[in-house]
């Protein structure tokens, strides 16, 4: 059995996250995003790869799971359901379901408004699409169909973001979506159980960066902002309306409160949609999805009731004096670009860049620019940038350590990296493989991976076996420390296992047999084996007819020969219990007796003829005593004259 994993988007890239995973015949689409960097068909994942033949997506997919409301994870959903015609179940968390339509609407207006010919989906489409969505709660197990189980876990990142666990039969996997392993001001850290997993598909946006402490990040940010406003400058924080904006607002509001600053903080309401207006309101309602810290303080005061933050009016752009302005969107276009154009030429002002800026955006250009500089806005407009530029290290994505922590915690059998840049993914893959010894992959878009998965077979168990499972049955093993040291070539390698180890035998003691009658399988105890399969015991034995040189054997008595042999063996093997009864010598399973047959089948002498002064002694033994048997035989063969005289 294998898990089949088709990456439609975010393979060695950031944008249009979309992965189709086929486990035990069930196909799940994780995320359905758009790529904001493209305006053409590359904007959407190539859905045609899902069902090359039929074209019927509803049949091909068991369900769609959306991890959070960011456009690169949900943007293509209305298109897929309304235009491509997918009609199956869609799952997302409650906050995602609440905020997704606003996000989609915002995006639709921004991109399609005025370009009717390009229009891919309408407001109605969004509304219709959302009707198909089933909202889920955290840690709620959803039985999508008879075989498919999914469960959401808290992921941090943005409000309502979730990691999804999916299980079909015995194969299980987790798709993380975007997540954050450390709590920030307003959202908690990702929380998940230790699960038995075959596969984890994780984001890897910051596959190689290591984040500073939260306190250091906040202090730096506040210092830069404070210095700017103290010098009479204006601070522009182009940001996304939901998420970072709230976190930064909280930090600034706190700081303003403490230092008693009177400089106004504006939260821009000047956007196409009501998104920004509603953003803070949503946060106030969705307190349950915020961090524990916010929840703790919520009893006394809603931390999203910012005291020093007021809404912005366009006329204030030209107002003199210092201020702080949160403006959408983050990568500087639209409204934030308007403000930027006005404020950039003044060196007292400050532009902070938050999070990730896609290539080609002005944000990206500023990231690499060193003011004073001149940047190109479009074909014939250039802008002098003299203001300071500060790159925030706040990010809702986990850093390399966080990814490693999660992978280590879940310890899956395989890891797939998505949502990141290829060179960084390669590095992280190497670390995961070397440090955690877990095979790791980073497929490109449209690549399909096959991953072996656990397969369990059903078997009945016998009563005796069940009984043996119930009672503890452990024993202690003592290993020899010297053996360990021999194994350890490297002396620096301090690997050390305890000499004494416990092992529990009760479960391991059964035998799995396949009954031929009906191909059913059964686990039985060792004692029951013979009865169950209805055969007799076949024992494997070794036999050898050993020639022993014995002068004048004809004239001598066989019993004296026995005595000699017995005496010799008793001297040679004082530790063993050697029995001599009725002309047969027994040592454990070794049985030997004088062989009078002329043509013993176990005799290896070529001639089969009796050699002078040689008697034959026929020996048989079972496999376990092989070593012993050969030692006894070699002793017998070396029977010397002196031994005889003694006796």
């Amino acid at each position: 059995m294998a898990i089949e994993c088709l990456v439609l988007g975010a393979g060695q890239d950031v944008g249009k996250s979309c992965v189709i995973v086929k486990i035990n015949g069930k196909s799940i689409m994780f995320d359905c995003g758009i790529h904001t960097g493209y305006q053409d068909h590359r904007r959407y994942p190539d859905f045609s790869l899902i069902s090359a033949n039929s074209g019927d997506f509803t049949d091909s997919l068991s369900c769609i799971i959306i991890t959070h409301f960011h456009l690169d994870h949900i943007g293509a959903l209305p298109y897929f359901t309304q235009v491509c015609g997918y009609n199956g179940p869609i799952y997302m968390t409650y906050p995602t379901k609440a905020l997704a339509p606003i996000m989609l609407e915002d995006y639709r207006k921004l991109i399609f408004e005025g370009r009717e010919e390009e229009k891919q989906f309408s407001s109605e489409d969004i509304a219709e699409c959302m009707k198909k969505v089933t909202a889920v709660d955290l840690k709620q197990t959803i039985q999508v169909d008879k075989d498919l189980q999914i469960r959401a876990y808290y992921a941090g990142h943005v409000i309502g973001a979730a990691m999804f666990y999916a299980k079909v039969g015995d194969s299980a996997m987790v798709y993380t979506g975007d997540y954050n392993m450390t709590a920030d001001r307003h959202l908690g850290a990702a929380q998940i159980d230790r699960l038995q997993l075959d596969l984890v598909i994780t984001e890897s946006t910051y596959a190689t960066s290591y984040r500073d402490s939260k306190y250091v990040r906040e202090r730096e940010f506040l210092k830069v902002v404070h210095n700017c406003v103290a010098g009479g400058g204006k601070v522009l924080i182009p940001t996304f309306a939901l998420g970072r904006a709230q976190e930064l607002c909280m930090i600034l509001d706190d700081y303003w409160e403490k230092t008693n600053l009177k400089v106004p903080i504006y939260f821009s309401a000047d956007s196409f949609s009501g998104l920004t207006l509603q953003a803070n309101m949503y946060y106030k309602i969705l307190i349950n999805w915020t961090s524990q810290k916010v929840k703790d303080t919520y009893t006394t005061r809603n931390p999203f009731d910012f005291k020093n933050v007021c809404s912005f009016d366009r006329s204030l752009i030209h107002a003199p004096g210092p201020c702080v302005l949160f403006a959408t969107p983050a990568m500087i276009s639209g409204f934030s670009l308007d403000v930027f154009k006005l404020w950039a030429p003044d060196e007292r002002n400050l532009v902070t860049l938050t999070g990730y800026c896609g290539s080609g955006t002005i944000g990206r250009k500023l990231m690499v620019a060193k003011p004073p500089t001149r940047i190109t806005l479009d074909d014939n407009v250039q802008l002098d940038v003299r203001c300071q530029i500060y790159q925030l290290s706040f990010s809702p994505h986990t850093d390399a350590k966080g990814i490693m922590d999660l992978v280590k915690f879940l310890s899956p059998k395989h890891v797939i990296l998505v949502h990141g840049e290829k060179p960084k993914m390669v590095k992280l893959k190497e670390i995961i493989e070397s440090e955690l010894e877990i095979p790791c992959y980073h497929p490109a878009n449209h690549e399909t991976l096959h991953i072996p998965s656990t397969r369990r077979i059903e078997a009945s168990a016998s009563d005796a076996f069940l009984q043996s499972c119930l009672c503890p049955n452990f024993k202690f093993l003592k290993t020899d420390p010297r053996q360990d040291s021999e194994l350890d070539d490297d002396s620096n390698n301090k690997r050390k296992m305890p000499q004494l180890q416990v092992c529990e035998n009760r479960v391991a003691q059964g035998l799995l047999i396949t009954l031929q009658k009906n191909q059913s399988r059964k686990v039985v105890t060792e004692n029951e084996l013979i009865d169950t399969i209805g055969t007799e015991i076949h024992e494997e034995k070794f036999a050898y007819c050993c020639p022993i040189y014995f002068p004048n054997s004809e004239s001598r008595d066989i019993s004296s020969f026995h005595l000699i042999l017995f005496g010799k063996l008793s001297r040679e093997f004082p530790d063993l219990n050697i029995q001599d009864c009725e002309d047969v010598i027994r040592i454990q399973s070794f049985v030997g007796s004088f062989c009078s047959k002329a043509k013993c089948p176990y005799r290896t002498d070529v001639s089969f003829q009796s050699v002078l002064d040689t008697v034959h002694f026929c020996c048989a033994w079972s496999m376990g005593d092989e070593e012993l048997a050969w030692r006894v035989i070699s002793t017998m063969k070396n029977l010397k004259l002196s031994d005889r005289i003694e006796t």
Binding site: S213, S411, N493, R495
Partner: protein, 902 residues
Amino acid sequence: MEHRLLADVVSKLGKFPILSPKLTDAALSLITNPFTSDETLTSLLETLVAHLQNPDINHAILFSLLSALSNHHPRLRRRISAAAHAFVLLPTTATPTLPHALSLIEPAEPTPFDPFSDESMFLSLCFWQCVKTRRWTLRNVSKFHVRPSVFLTVLLGLTKDPYPYIREAALDGLVMLSNGGIVVDDRSLIECCYFRSVELLFDAENSVRCSAVRAVSAWGQLLVALSPDKTKADWSDALFVQLCLMVRDREMEIRVAAFSALGNIRTVSEDILMLTLAKKALSGTNEKTFPGQYTAKLFKLPATAAVFIFVNGLEDEFYQVRKSACHAVKKMTVLSAKFAGEVVYILMQILNEDSVVVRLQALQTLHHMAMHDHLKVEESHLDMFFGALVDGNALIRSAARKTIQLTKFQKLAMFRSCIDVLIKNLELCPQDEADVFYALYKIGRSHGKFVTKIIHEVSQELEPSPYGKLGFTKVRTIALLVLAISAPVSLERQISTIRPEIYSYAVTLLGRLTRGLGGLTDQNALLDYLSHCSRFTVGSTSESFGEVLDFHLKDSYFQLQKRSETTCVEIVFQKIVDLWPLIQLGCMNEVIRTLRSWKEELQFFSLDSRPPAGVLVFALKYLHVIKLLGKAWACYFSKRNLHFNGIGILEALLCKTERRLKEMLHRFTGLSRGVEMHILELMLVTYTLRLPYGGGTIFFEDYTSKVNSVFCRVENLGKEESTQPFPFLIDLQNISHEIGNSRDGFIHKPELLQKSLNLFSLKQIVVSEKLDYLDAEIDVFDNDFQNPLPFISGLPVGIPFDITLHNISLGTRLWLAITDGEKSTQFVFLDLHEFGGCNEIRKSAFVAPFFRTPKVKHFVLKVSVVMECLSEGQHSKHLNGPKQNFIYLSNGKEIHLSTAEK
């Protein structure tokens, strides 16, 4: 009704011994009804007990009824316990019913056969197929008294149980065992427990992981303790890193448990500690690995697992984790100043926290750091640090003030803002006044220069209004006055130049000030102090400060702190004279308290100077002698009329005093004659106190010889220096002359002796600064009870010593006294010419033989350095040892020996 129900239950049970629900309910109603008569209950109990023997009845229900009975009617418990006990002993009893019965047995009940000590029963319970039985047994493991080895193996085995609750209970049992102080000396068993717990750190069940963290901590500590010194640090690091791994668990409780376990680790190497604050693994520690487990499958623990964990923990979203992390940091800051320096920034940030408990813990951590002198406050921290001083919560403010008191500010500006914030604290929360005053005083004392500067700047504010009215209504003014008070007693020994008027202003606020400084002084003392300060400019009078101030005993504190160690000693010698009347009055409690406070003060100085100067040691010994003598004196006079009561104590005290005095006489070089005379006088007092109760002529002879030898010495001293001998000496000399002639001397003259004793008083002694203390240190490398030296019994064994001698001149005769138990002492002469160094310090590594090795596997020798007292006329009885009496120069060092293994 009651009777009907009872009859019903009894008769039905008698006929058909089946506990139907109806019957159970009826019985239960009788049990729970508070008005049920005692007779009914008793007969119900007897019926139930009688049915215990019935093998067919449902014992689970029966026992639940009995336990209800036991809970509701404690007076029946004994009977129920006895019945349960009898039931347990029945051979027919099935294992699954045992837990019910056992839980009803009162553990306090003394019984001839204790089922809880029955190993076979314990084992059958542990190996029973029913999970519930196993769980009950494991949860109640503490009730059983079986051999630790049985406990340990069973618990260890059950950590492999497929049921998580059994694993969890087994781990908890292991923790309990390790805490219960069981002795396991089998290292492989401990290792097994440790590694098994480590394995369970990767369990899928949260509760198992949580218990595993505790078990790893407990057994890890044992493992570290049992490791030889060489690998101890490594094992400790391994344990630390292993627990660090759990700090990143996704479960809050496990993170909390992991941090509290980290806090219990006693030693961690600094580089590992620094990793916990670093973003990335530092080069050098990258490759380091420890024995342990990294994931469920990887059995090598890289040091990098510790990276960033404290930062993560301190910014966790759960306050429980932050608090726990803070607490762990508190323990770690003691280990490394570098770590403390790095972590202080994050701790300061935490002072901005929303959660009070976390803020409080952070302050306690800072306080702890300050106590260990690991707190370096920088200017950038001040905002947050001082923020805590004006916190809304009184506990936080108080903790912040405690921390501030110990903080050392490098810059005046920092100190100034600290004072401002304290004043602000006072303005905002007048209820904190006393505490703020105390903090101001304390911090002022450690920043004398800054205080003087600030007081100068603000002296205008401290002036009364132009009309000459002293209206100190502003809290700021009062606070500044408190600050001014602290200047003269500054630890910086800076001659302050604060104008004396200011102190007279402070006098008007005496009541309020006393409340604040109540912990340090009382009102009278403060008044004395203030009036003294206001009379003289401190600069001009600081020389005569001590003489002018006539403090209450308790408040010598003020003076002492102001003085250097020599002057401090002088003051002690000067003040101690005043104690004698108190001793005579029998106020020993007060005397002892005073002596103790002086001792503490002196010890404070001895911390600064290493090795402690002779004068200080002398003073400490003197204080000790006075304490002993005072106690003996009190004992002597209080018990005088009670025949022979308390002689044992008195005898012991006097013996001790004599030994100490002898030591003082011989272990110091450079004693002035006056001092020597005083010591001899004290010796005579000791002998005299001892005589009347010593009894017998033998003792009398001993006394006479001792007294005569002392007198001999006194006379010699007297000849050399024409000082007037003390009255007590003269009197005693006369008496001994008088009765020296008569045979039964002192026994008939106790009143004479007492009279002469009354003539005694303490003298003020002057000790020259060039007093040297003869001292010796003795050490044997790498020897303790775990690492004994090998020997072969009957043959001599060589013991390698490292001996350090202080202030020993070449003429001294030193011996090593090697004592084997209490029996015999063997002496080895130390040839000082073999020692390197000069008089001040000599060192030698030296192998001394010990001859009489006994026929035992292990034994302990006690070794000390002794010095012959050449001046004493008495001869020692030791063969092959010192010819003269000797005194010990070092503490007895224990040396462990064990037979060499073949």
